[in-house]
Symmetry: none
Subunit: 167 residues, 4 copies
């Protein structure tokens, strides 16, 4: 109940503050840069603890780039892989691992990875959920799939935890 | 002289520290994430002071993405513009404004913007120089060209200033 | 020890020699054209010995094209394959064969080849390492994977051998 | 007369030597790697004399990449510009400067640079002519248009001169 009140309050305040400058430019409730940085920093902390340098992409509810960081020595090729993992998760509203399970040879979605300019069908892309709403996704690439996934989940968890603390 | 010594020390430590894990993955002297974040944060501070939300891209010496942030309400179309401004600056070792001056109708490089998958030939892309070496570039997009340029220059200056403080 | 001294000397001379002309344009330690031509010529010699015409691409540490040659009668389609093999190796800091092993059906990175505008997940892309630092990659295409790989390795070995001779 | 005899002889020899391995793979008379390297080396020599580092692309009669070199410190963005200059010259059988003259605002071909994945409509792309036949093109980028053009013409002249010497 309290979290619905918070959402209402946020929605009410947005339009007022910007009325002087025309219509609101960003959907109320969409991922903020502050949230994206919370996610990014939590992911970076996990990555440093693991010791394998990563590329980390955060996209918003529209699947558009919001924040990014590449650690020193991380794969150059993982810039794009991390981006595609984040997009994959948000475009199909599931982790890239879950989409991947359905895209193996013989499975229903085999070949889906060539759509949308290229998707990634292995782990490391996770949804960002805030107050019960999908607000974006995080994609991580640079290590093994298990390492990438651990970093992505640490990033996603930071947003959920931040929400819990406030509510 | 002290800055040359610092550079030497850094270069000496790099190869040694990683010998256990195979060859060094990132060229010593290339932009670090710490430097990229210094640049990004200085640019964000300038942008907040101006009050117009921006997209800010930082690339390394090879023109590859290193850090990115999109402020709330900033143009979605400026994700790509900011990226292309950074790449334009690094690809031609000058600000995007300087390249643009040479690319006007009747000028020598008219039409160059259709190369390299699309360049941006107006201001907002600036070089990142550290210890006398080009180590990357910053691209900013979201406001007027003057506003974009001010933010890009604030970002670039933060790297130079950080270098001066240490030396 | 001597090779570290040589590296130091080279790095010291770079910034000084160019101070009159603005900042240094190429990161000290990145692949030089002379090195790229050493690699290319060694690869061409191996290719001639094998008798199957090849496309040979050399990229620098940033994954950007440095040198290229297509032998007479070599596949036109291998211009791009050789380029993508070189980029694949540098983007993931391993041979394209090693990446390919992890990208088979049922393996962890299945489907990765659709990222980065297209990667190549079979042999023929090898890293270029100089003084313990990855400075680029070579990609070779035109024959069987074994033939391509032999030429790529001959090219890569020429750089290592040149380094050993000098030190 | 003598050059026609030489051409005939060349055409007669090609099919014979390769009959054992199926059809001939490269059009007799098309640019050879040896010729491309002659062009490239002459262009590199001119570039060194000028002192401005260049990107140099050589394409064959089909407009496909045959040889390439990037001098140390040359613009990364000129990899693509040099390639597009060479393709522009061969695709329209005139120098990129000549096409550019017809592509200025108010002129007949205004806007043509957005076709073919991007053309370059300023100088630095020159045709390669051998024995009266267009066999390819050279594209040069890295300095002023005058500097680029001088290097491209030096490369193209080397092929003509080589032809004269042999005949």
């Amino acid at each position: 109940m309290r979290r619905i009140l918070v959402l209402f309050l946020a929605l009410m305040l947005y339009p007022l503050s910007s009325q002087a400058q025309g219509p609101v430019k960003q959907l109320p409730g969409d991922l903020t840069l502050e949230q994206a940085q919370t996610v990014l920093n939590a992911a970076l902390a996990k990555s440093k603890a693991q010791g394998v340098p990563m590329n980390i992409t955060v996209v918003d509810a529209g699947g558009n780039l919001k924040a990014f960081a590449r650690e020193d020595g991380a794969f150059l090729g993982s810039i794009d892989v991390s981006k595609k993992k984040a997009i994959t998760a948000r475009f199909f509203n599931m982790s890239s691992a879950d989409l991947g399970a359905a895209a193996q040879p013989g499975k229903e979605l085999f070949g889906i990875e060539v759509t949308n300019g290229g998707l990634v069908i292995f782990g490391g892309g996770e949804l960002l959920v805030h107050n019960g709403v999908i607000v974006g996704a995080i994609g991580v690439s640079g290590g093994s799939v298990a390492e990438d996934t651990a970093v992505a989940k640490a990033g996603a968890a930071a947003l959920s935890n931040a929400a819990k603390k406030k509510n």
